[in-house]
Amino acid sequence: MDNIQLAASAAVLAPGSEIVQGKQFVEITVTPELLVSTATALKQNSETRFDMLVCVSGVDYGKELGTVYHLRSTEFNHMVVLKTKVSDRDKPEIDSLCSLWPAADFHEREVYDLLGIKFRGHPDLRRLFLDSTWGYPLRKDYKDDINILAK
């Protein structure tokens, strides 16, 4: 399916989401409550069939924290981007997608480690690279006077 058809399918599968045509792929932005249902619909629908989770990236948008999911369908070879944002920077929580794609396991641990977003329902949410004395380095307001030279 090309981007126009994908955008149309997405509008049907994910009502209440914001669908934008990005530079390359269709970008579906949902609220955190609708994340799991949208992802499930995208995975199971026979016309989209997104069976592979390629990447989960955590992004600090300045005021909000968000995650970006790149989904691919191995059957139809199309990709779509699913995004969600949380505005609570002190206790950000998003639902985990481990039950849909086991690949999300390590990715979500990395996002938790570097950005501090907790994933509800993750089987084993621990820090991955760093230990507990570090803050959340990928956040834009992370201060480390020793190692990072502020411009």
Binding site: Q24, L53, V54, C55, P137
Partner: protein, 373 residues
Amino acid sequence: MEEAVKNIPLEEEEYIINMGPQHPSTHGVLRLVVSLRGEMVLNVEPHIGYVHRGIEKMCESLTYPQIIHLTDRMDYLSAHINNEAVCLAVEKALGIEVSDRVKYIRTILSELTRIQSHQLFWATFGMDLGGLTCFFYGLRDRELVMDIFEETCGGRMIVSYNCPGGLMNDIHPNFQKRTKDFIKYFRKTLPEYDRLLTGNVIFQERVKGLGTINREDAIAWGLTGPVGRASGFSCDIRKHNPYSAYNKVTFKEILYNEGDSFHRYKVRMDEMWESMNIIEQLIDNIPEGPYAEKMKPVIKLPEGEYWQSVETARGELGVFIVSDGNKNPYRFKFRSPNFVNLAPLNILAKGFKIADLVAINGSLDLVIPDLDR
């Protein structure tokens, strides 16, 4: 210290062994906490982060040409392909079309990188299993590829030959002849590898049937590269979303269905033959043209999000750039293949013996700096 390891209630006769960060066969700084009963593995837990350098955070304060030099040091065995990924992403975002000459040269160097990475895999896999001679044979032949890289690109392993818009400099006049000589030599030598290791009964008994994963699980876990292709998951980016000169060459995508360690090994051996075929199709036909496009001195990507996948020797490397219009990216994310390939190690190794864990880990062919970034 990191958060407490979750309490694994120890059964009777169960004990925990640490294959520590320094170990001859974990291929880098990877710590595996293995709980065993006798010789049988019950649970494997990888602890990573020993080589975490904060590359993604560093990228937020570097310009795009500077980021290319960081990517060399991630999966250092596919250095050129990593560089190519960033260059392609930047060029796609800016809408620049590089000349055919650049595309051909990039493809040839990528395939040489792939060959050299698989040679190292063969060398270390044999060594892990006890056939120490394989190490010397593999590295001896890899030196020839390293010499080609050194002459043209200036560096053996850490190459940094790509830049957005093309290449840093034109190829050396000797490049084509040396590559052709290498291909001729290696075509005669590669059957030697098969005679030494692949056909050996001891090797096959050690490696067949280990760590099996089927196609659906491979897709669900996101395994790409030779690991995925050995399970029947057709994931070669060079076929599905071709870039550079891959749509101008014909080659086979190696797929097997069994998904065990032996077939992961076989995929890499067969890929070396295919890489040589690709190089032979391109090496004599490099078109004339500029080796780099004219670019602005300061590269600023338009605002938006960009994604580029390439096929490194280990799987799909994804580059995700969030740009806000400045000369530094707002967020730069690498989807590294090794990171995803390590995740199912627990499932692959459960129920096998400790010696098999070494074989399974070797067959995944992980490069830990890529995992940790």
